[in-house]
Symmetry: C2
Subunit: 337 residues, 2 copies
DNA sequence: GCTGGGCGAGAAATCGATTTCAGAAATCGA
DNA sequence: TCGATTTCTGAAATCGATTTCTCGCCCAGC
């Protein structure tokens, strides 16, 4: 490495000891102003940057937080990542990003890396609510906050009220005139999928309708799975008159399946989904339950930083509101106008 | 930190010196089989994991490579990231991901982090071909490989032949019957944008057509910019009879603008784009110039690893082929069938 | 005038690994 | 059998920072 500048070099130039240089840089008060001046000048002149490995070896603390998300391809996470980065950087932490791809093995591997690298903390969108294992992090006393989804372990979490969000969407579909609402639900072992399914059922029951198990089909939160699930519902002789897709990618699959069959919303059936989708400019505009993604990232990071600072209170579960945005895909009136 | 196991603990249990433990773990040949056994057993029993900070402090080499991409939201990068991760992991390196968001300031900051963390190398999709500054990395002798785009500096690069790809797409549009082809081009200071524009012009010239400057509109490689650019072209009194969008997100913006105006492809105009888009299930299926993204990531990582290992040859520029996939959006015949 | 307390700065220990160096044991050749 | 060489192992130095320990100095209090 190109003859890197060390703290000794700075000390030599400033004519003080390395200890004094360290004190100046770590804002230790008890250094004479004159020495401080000399040190800062030397740092400036030599372009000194502390070696972060040496520092964290000594202090036993890194200033890196890991962000492990379950699907980098899902735009839902993009603005969330930004919320995490902004908040972390404001506190002098840097963020490393990893993509578990909804794969437990990969997730495990990244969790292991986080433990090995002694990261200050980890924000995790777990691939499974029951089978994700954070034991290694717990063992190293590395704090964890889950986002979007919860797990069995006793850790902080930040998520939206998925039950209420889904319920609101399905109630809206019913009020707009649907009577047979199908749901393209998510994987069984993901908490958000379970919650959204529960919201769907609650809406039906509240409207005095029976929950027809035939109208619930599970996908995998991906485009293909959504496509297959939607196809099964659309090909039924008694086709549903409305569909609710439990996440954004599966809604794309649903639109795909509809297009293949020459069906459009809201003319042939009403359509609603979950998660923002402005990145995909579909016609018609889609009715969606939207989440405050940036805010989720920001709050999760705040919780994590508090833990890192030593908070030992009981696990905190922040629940934000998801808001229903009604657009043309479910709105016969607006469409008519 | 929960009483971490160190090399001394292992040495004590195995009744050897720390030096011997280190040699066993670093595959040093000259250790007696019996001692080796004892050490491995102790490592296993204690669940010992070397502290990577201490190791890289001593060896002056980390096993981390930085991957700085220009837009995490663009699915083009997803499979590329996978190519990088797989290849890096096979050689024992881990990958940290950063998103510059096409923002020179953010990019600068991540490059600085990479230098400060003494990363082994950096794979970069530069935000600008002329204003991206890799000076700090060069100074630290950290190798860099650019992907997708090139920069002025003398570093390895991996990209597709953007000129040929774009040319092929536009030639196809012309052969299918278009005579006035508009292009939604990318930002001026990104090499891929320049190359694709050149390919477009080459195709027109080869067909003996004049290049009408009115039919070239620049976007920003994002959905919104594509939307605005397409709107300008579509609202002309002499509307083009074909459009070529220089990347995937701008093609979405284009579809958006078309939908607003009640236009569909290929009936009203022929449509082709650049980059894979299977994630967005559009109807009609889109004609696209597709890149071997996984392969780009794999090759870039191989080049980087070679540099890290000490290769000092002249900068290498790998150029892969981009293949045109003709689908319904530009194919009047197939549509008719 | 002497002692004790407080403060500022440097010397040295420390973090946890790798690697050099040196010494003991084993091997080899004559 | 003896010396020379090689092989293996452990002690100690090292990487670059932080932090404890220690010491000298100054000032207040008696």
């Amino acid at each position: 490495m190109g003859s890197r500048v060390t703290i000794r070099d700075v000390a030599a130039v400033a004519e003080v000891s390395p200890a004094t240089v360290s004190r100046v840089l770590n804002a230790d008060q008890r250094v004479a102003p004159e020495l401080r001046e000399r040190v800062l000048a030397a740092v400036e002149r030599l372009g000194y940057r502390p070696n972060s490995q040496a520092r964290s070896l000594r202090t036993q603390a890194t200033r890196v937080i890991g962000l492990i998300i379950s699907d980098i391809q899902n735009p839902f996470f993009t603005s969330l990542v930004r919320g995490v980065e902004d908040t972390a950087q404001a506190s002098g932490y840097s963020v490393v990003l990893a993509n578990s791809d909804e794969d437990l093995g990969k997730e495990q591997q990244y969790l292991r890396v986080a433990a090995a690298e002694q990261m200050a903390g980890v924000i995790l969108s777990p691939a499974s609510s029951s089978r994700t294992r954070i034991g290694e992090l717990v063992h190293e006393e590395i704090p964890v906050v889950t986002i979007d989804r919860r797990i069995a372990a006793d850790v902080d979490s930040v998520a939206v009220d998925n039950v209420a969000g889904a319920r609101r969407a399905v109630e809206h579909l019913l009020q707009t005139g649907a009577s047979r609402v199908g749901i393209i639900a998510g994987p069984e072992d993901v908490s958000t999928a379970a919650d959204r399914l529960e919201g769907y059922r609650a809406a039906l029951r509240a409207a005095g309708l029976a929950v027809d198990p035939e109208l619930t089909v599970r996908g995998d939160f991906r485009v293909d799975g959504g496509h297959r699930a939607a196809a099964r519902l659309l090909d039924r002789p008694d086709r549903p008159d409305a569909l609710f897709a439990a996440n954004n990618l599966m809604l794309i699959g649903t639109l795909d399946a509809m297009a293949e069959r020459g069906l459009t919303a809201p003319a042939d059936l009403l359509l609603a989904g979950f998660d923002e989708m402005s990145w995909a400019g579909f016609a018609p505009p889609l009715t969606l339950v939207e989440q405050p993604t940036y805010e989720i990232g920001r709050l999760a990071t705040q919780l994590l930083l508090r833990r890192i600072a030593g908070g030992t209170a009981a696990a905190e579960h922040v629940v934000l509101e998801a808001t229903l945005k009604v657009r043309a895909s479910s709105d016969l009136v607006r469409r008519a106008v």
